[in-house]
Amino acid sequence: MTTLDAPVERTLTLRETGPATRGTRPDEVVIAVSPAFGDPFTQTIVGVPHAEVLRQLMAGIEEQGVGVRVVRVWNTADLAAVSHIAARLSGSGVSVGMLSRGTTMIHQKDLPRLSNLELFPQSPLLDAPVFRAIGSNAAQYAKGQSPQPVPTRNDQMARPRWQAKAALLHLKEFECIRADAGPVELEVTIERAAG
């Protein structure tokens, strides 16, 4: 049978290896995750496991032959700030920033903080293929190519279903902020769950 029938469970381990530094490779994308990503939260607002989110983002970048580093931003859970901090750490200047609930942004260091290359604001509509495409596009920007923007989806009924939960997740993520901690480099290990 194909793997579609039985989604494989994977575990995500994020180990801090030290303060994040500015990259020198022009062919890298930096992924920045927010304070609560992976721990204590383990999935996006609609239940996509963080292990899978990161795996797909990184796969999208790898498929384009571009390097990837993952960092955690501790002192803010503002997506634009998370993404822009990562862009300034990135050797290519291109970054992917994401919040625990799934909201994602592709940023570039020369853009104003509140601007972006691509923004995926509706976290409930982001699934694994979208994260793969986001990674792929970020890598293509890093290579100086012109990818077609990942189509964004819209669902007017996301408000009644998800708005309050998003607010709740946002508040929880805020509680994990460490105001005096700088961004740190992460070593990512994704393994198949036992059994």
Partner: protein
């Protein structure tokens, strides 16, 4: 022009366009009855003729006072002062009042200009008051560098991205699961 000692209006005079049209003039001095279709077609009227005159705003301020709405009346009096300010300058003054957009000196200069150039003491007072509060609440331009790198350590850094989208039509779905706030 309406005389400086215009009658004090009562709520019974409202609506002026129906009950007291003789008091209404355009900023160019035409009576409101001159705003006819013939005048439009012949090209006699310009966009300037369809603006409100400061005297009219004062009349409406009197009506607001008479109906127990002092804040609304004050708004109309500031507005009367602002009729003299060109559109672009009105917008730039508004932008200067945004948080961390101006230094104390700049706001003071703006207040002086309102008072001296435009004869707008009520609006000038509003700007001076803003300067005082901004100073106390650290909302003047010097209080916080724009630089995003330092945002990390500022209280501002713990604000969500959604606020940024406010300037696009406030009611459109700009953020998160749905719209930006209100």
């Amino acid at each position: 022009m309406s005389s400086p000692t215009a009658p004090t209006l009562t709520v019974a005079d409202y609506p002026l366009s129906v009950n007291r049209p003789e008091l209404l003039r355009t900023p160019t001095g035409k009576p409101v009855t001159a705003l006819t279709m013939d005048a439009v077609v012949s090209g006699e009227l310009t966009a300037e003729d369809l603006r409100i005159a400061p005297e009219t705003l004062e009349l409406q301020a009197q009506l607001a006072d008479a109906s127990g709405r002092p804040q609304l009346a004050a708004n109309f009096r500031r507005a009367a002062e602002m009729t003299a300010i060109p559109d672009a300058e009105v917008l730039s003054m508004y932008n200067a009042l945004r948080p961390r957009a101006s230094t104390a000196a700049k706001l003071t200069a703006m207040a002086d200009k309102l008072e001296q150039t435009y004869g707008a003491p009520v609006s000038a007072a509003l700007v001076r008051e803003a300067a005082e509060v901004y100073g106390r609440r650290r909302l003047l331009a010097d209080d916080e560098p724009e630089d995003a790198a330092t945002a990390a350590t500022s209280p501002d850094a713990v604000t969500p991205a959604v606020a940024a989208d406010e300037t696009a039509a406030d009611e459109t779905a700009a953020d998160e699961t749905t719209g930006s706030p209100a």
